[in-house]
Amino acid sequence: MRRWTAALLIGPAVLFLVGGFVGPLTLALGESLRGGIGPYVRIFGDSYYLEVIAATLALSGTVTLAALAVGYPYALILARAQGWAKTVLLFLLVAPLLVNVVVRSFGWMVIFGRSGLVNAALDLVGLPKLDLLNSWTAIGIALVHVLLPFMVLSIAATLEDLDPALEEAAATLGARPLRRFIHIVAPLSLHGAVTGAILVFALCMGSFVTVMMMGDNRTMVLPLLVYQQLSVAGDGVFAAALGMVLLATVLAVFWLQARAVRTLTP
């Protein structure tokens, strides 16, 4: 492909984002630097903020891996399903996204609460009650629940092209299921899994309502700090600086991933 064709294809998207995203981004960056680099010194010179950044990364990383583990089999089944089965699977997947976060959290409370369904069941079989609500675990479960569609559909989209004849041929030639998976299915879905991971990770890094509803005082993440600065402290400058740090962190992860994928794929 010639260079000008590439420029022509990418141009509109780049121009749109320069107008619709870089413009506002510059404003936000300017706001964060209005009083000098003070806010950034405050963030990077303080172990509290660094801990929060680490916790945010850890939560997002864990949720991404969990979503991959839970979602991969789902994607395989979804990609191979046909007719009504596919409709049902797709509905199950997107349904969580349609329920408002507030009522969804109430649903989790009914299930995981100390007088909730899980504990009632544990009590029935004589096991000790669990304190599941308001913890990193609760946040993680709730996030995997609602972000799962982003992982599954990304993977399934790349598996739709998987020709069943190819797998059958491999099976006929005596390849075991695991080998078939490693050599045929996995390479095909690699880009899908990377896509799912990027989307889930980025969505996690930015989510704070779920963290607020399902967590407690110990579960602090970067976007929640941004929210506090805006809604309680009214400090737009520090909020903007925290936002820039979050942006830079996620961008660094994106860039590493793009480099890694290019190196890994022949």
């Binding site: 007088s115 809604s231 309680v232 402290a233």
Partner: protein, 339 residues
Amino acid sequence: MRDSIRRLAAASVLLIALPVAGALAQDKIVVTSSGGVWLDSAKNNFATCFKERTGKDPEILVSASNEIMQRLRASPGNPPIHVAVLSEIDAIRAGQEGLLDKLTVEKVPNLKDVPEVFRKQWNDFATIQNFGAMIVMVNGEKVPNPPQDWKTLIDEVIAGKYGKRVSFPSLTMPWGPMFTWFLTTLYDGSEDVVFQKYKAMLPNMAKYWVSPVDALNMFAAKEIDILVYWDGRAYAFAEENKWAKAYIPAPGAFQSAAMLAKPKGAPELAWQYVDCVLSPKAQLGHSHTVKYPIVNSKVEYPADLKAILTPLEKVRQPDFARIIERVPNWLDRWNREIR
């Protein structure tokens, strides 16, 4: 295929063009309100009055204080909102930033019946339109005899008398700083004591609540037995659920209020709406609908309403100037210490 793409393109242009055309056509007074019963009240009481006086319908935008503030800041002098309902702190900030017009009796005749205490701290850039208080809700079956004053309640929570089944508002919810200020008034103004108490209560706190809905969720799901919450909603909940009780511990509660203001640059007609909100008839109707006390001194409450409204004597108005000054420090302490 090409045809269908062309049709799709035409459809998307239409999709975009229609609402844009609709947006350009509006030339009205835009006022704000909270949602649900608040919106009902704004329609039935305030907008009705405005229509009687001017023959026009105001556009009622349901929006929260934070968002209104950002919109006013984004277009100073040419506000997209002509009458704003703001939080106390936002109203003070907006006044200081020069985003509001001063309310005067010439422009708003009904202001003469609004006691000065409801607007003094705002320098007449805004007035309280209704207020409430943060009180205590208990599960009457689990806690039949709750402590009658705040300090005993706090000490009993610390002692673990109610287990981990208590929820207080977090400093990080919008009215958290006001609650913290209120607590300092109980402990001779000492912030250190209040933070010690916050820290000591933490092990027995199901959660310091941030989202009001989340808080009521926990109470409704019977995850907690004691909840510090707004009076209007607490009484409404208790009315429907017989196991729930609500009361005001001694020595009272802090006042939490909705502020009414006219942004600078809004048309003169907006004053009519402000005056309507403060008129005795609309004020009483509003109080009936939202179950909160109002500010026009000409209003006489009927007995049924009087019974559930927190009286003015029981509420303390926070010192907002001090709160605004202390909030960044409190927030920092809260994040580091109370965990």
